[in-house]
């Protein structure tokens, strides 16, 4: 009788352990995703400032600047789902990249103290976003391993947890890296 109770107790503890492991990993993934979100919001805060500084100088890029402002408004309105959000982000990355390249044609803007500070802040945010994405990918890999590996996979299927996708670094992001290099050559 005692032996049976011990076996049951060990079994229950084992399942509680598995359950908690899965919950912990799932929450880690959500946490790191939230940190990407925070950083993206931080970038939105910079955009109005950037647009207002840049538009006095950049006459030919008015259209792009208006588009950036509209995208930002759409993204922070909260009426978009996650997929649409990723689309908006990618577009935003590309437009911001274009603006940073176009700066090369405006020497006065390049020398503007305010703009230089903004440019540094933008670089910093980009670097932080990329760090957050890498952190997200690391936690997702850890989580996905748990979902697929024995014995945690049994618990994952009971809890109906599915593997998650890794964040792929979008094409526009890669272009940004080149832009940074361009600035360093000055």
């Amino acid at each position: 009788m005692i032996i049976l109770m011990v076996i049951i107790a060990v079994g229950v503890l084992f399942f509680v352990g598995l359950y908690n492991t899965m919950i912990g990993k799932k929450n880690n993934v959500n946490n790191t995703f939230a940190s990407i979100d925070t950083l993206l919001k931080k970038r939105y805060d910079l955009i109005p400032n950037l647009v207002s500084t840049v538009q006095q100088y950049m006459e030919h890029e008015r259209g792009t600047l208006t588009e950036i402002t509209e995208l930002r408004a759409k993204a922070i309105s909260g009426n978009v789902n996650e997929n649409q959000r990723v689309g908006l982000e990618n577009k935003m990355n590309k437009l911001l990249g274009n603006i940073m390249v176009a700066v090369e044609n405006y020497p006065q803007l390049k020398a503007n103290e305010n703009f230089m500070q903004l440019q540094r802040s933008m670089n910093e945010i980009e670097e932080q976003i990329s760090a957050a994405r890498r952190a997200y990918n690391a936690t997702v890999t850890d989580y996905n391993n748990a979902v697929e590996m024995f014995p945690t996979n049994t618990m994952a299927s009971v809890m109906k947890l599915a593997t998650r996708n890794l964040f792929e670094i979008p094409e526009a992001q890669r272009e940004n890296v080149d832009v940074k290099k361009l600035f360093n050559q000055k």
């Binding site: 790191t32 540094r120 802040s121 670089n123 910093e124 670097e127 760090a131 890498r134 952190a135």
Partner: protein
């Protein structure tokens, strides 16, 4: 970085007069050392053998031998101290200025034990902290300081006798990092994972004294180092993919154990050396280019950290 040819020119023109002057002093010091320490050694042997004949207990003989050795070393240090001092200001300081004229040198100062503790690289508190050859200054936009240090902790055996065990011996570098950050990230040589593979990884995770284990995506870096920190995102913000590669390259270049940490917007780098660095020869000639090249390479290794880790890249909000 300067070429070997430039160093050769510098050696033949600026350094040579200093070296010749010091070589004279070295010969005189050597004569004195041979004479005085020779007498001391002869005397010690005579006294100890007398003890032996008188059948004095062995532990007393050992104790006497220990004192004699301490006296002989003391005499050696005392006789060579002026020569060592002249050598440091004449040769080492000049080589440092040859590498970068903005750097300051203090032969008898070192990185303080409080800075050493602040780095959080080593968990143990030092009980004895010594060092010399302190260098500080601005390399490009980056403020750096480094020195040779030798840090130890005290242990006592069952009889209450104390001995000192090493914590770290080598070059210790502190530089202003080019990004702002708040937390602590420590990068240590990875011995455990290489030995035990997956089980090693489990052991690393259990190392609670170090904070969270941070697994990075660069497999070469992961093989060489293990990273602990208090923030997964911040650790990756600091250890960008390019910095990881640069750290691996630097480690290969030194061929030594390299420890790093990032605390309070500063980067700390500890490079372990077994030998005493930047000390003059007493028993061999000083006028030797290969010896100067060795001093130069050891100095360039640390000063070159700024370039090797790209610390002058200031494209973020920290200027």
């Amino acid at each position: 970085m300067k070429t070997l040819e430039e160093l050769g020119n510098y050696y033949n023109t600026a350094l040579m007069p200093e070296l010749i002057k010091l070589e004279e002093q070295r010969k005189q010091v050597l004569k004195k050392v041979c004479l005085v320490d020779g007498i001391a050694i002869a005397l010690s042997i005579a006294i100890l053998s007398l003890f032996f004949d008188m059948e004095v207990p062995t532990h007393v003989i050992f104790f006497g031998g220990f004192i004699a050795a301490a006296v002989i070393v003391g005499i050696y240090k005392w006789l060579t101290s002026a020569y060592v001092k002249n050598f440091k200001s004449g040769v080492i300081e000049n080589i440092i200025h040859f590498i970068d004229s903005h750097l300051e040198y203090k032969g008898d100062a070192c990185i303080s034990s409080s800075d050493f503790i602040k780095s959080k690289i080593f968990n143990r508190q030092p009980d004895r902290h010594r060092g010399d050859d302190y260098v500080a200054g601005l390399v490009g936009k980056t403020r750096i300081e480094f020195s040779e240090i030798h840090s130890e902790y005290e242990t006592r055996d069952s009889k209450g006798r104390s001995t000192y065990q090493p914590i770290f011996k080598g070059l210790f570098f502190i530089g202003d990092f080019n990004k702002h950050f708040k937390g602590v990230t420590v990068v240590l040589p990875d011995a455990v994972e290489r030995l035990f593979g997956g089980f090693g990884n489990f052991l690393q995770k259990m190392n609670a004294s170090r904070g969270q284990l941070i697994r990075l995506e660069d497999p070469v870096f992961e093989k060489e180092f293990v990273v602990y920190g208090d923030d997964q995102v911040e650790a990756r913000y600091i250890l960008s993919t390019s910095l990881m590669k640069r750290i691996v390259d630097f480690k290969k270049k030194t061929g030594k154990k390299v420890f790093l940490s990032f605390v309070g917007s500063k980067i700390y780098v500890a490079i372990a050396f077994a030998k005493n660095l930047f000390e003059p020869r007493v028993f061999k000639t000083l006028v030797d280019f290969s010896q100067v090249v060795e001093y130069y390479q050891d100095l360039e290794l640390v000063i070159g950290l700024v370039e090797d880790l790209n610390l002058n890249l200031r494209i973020w909000t920290k200027e």
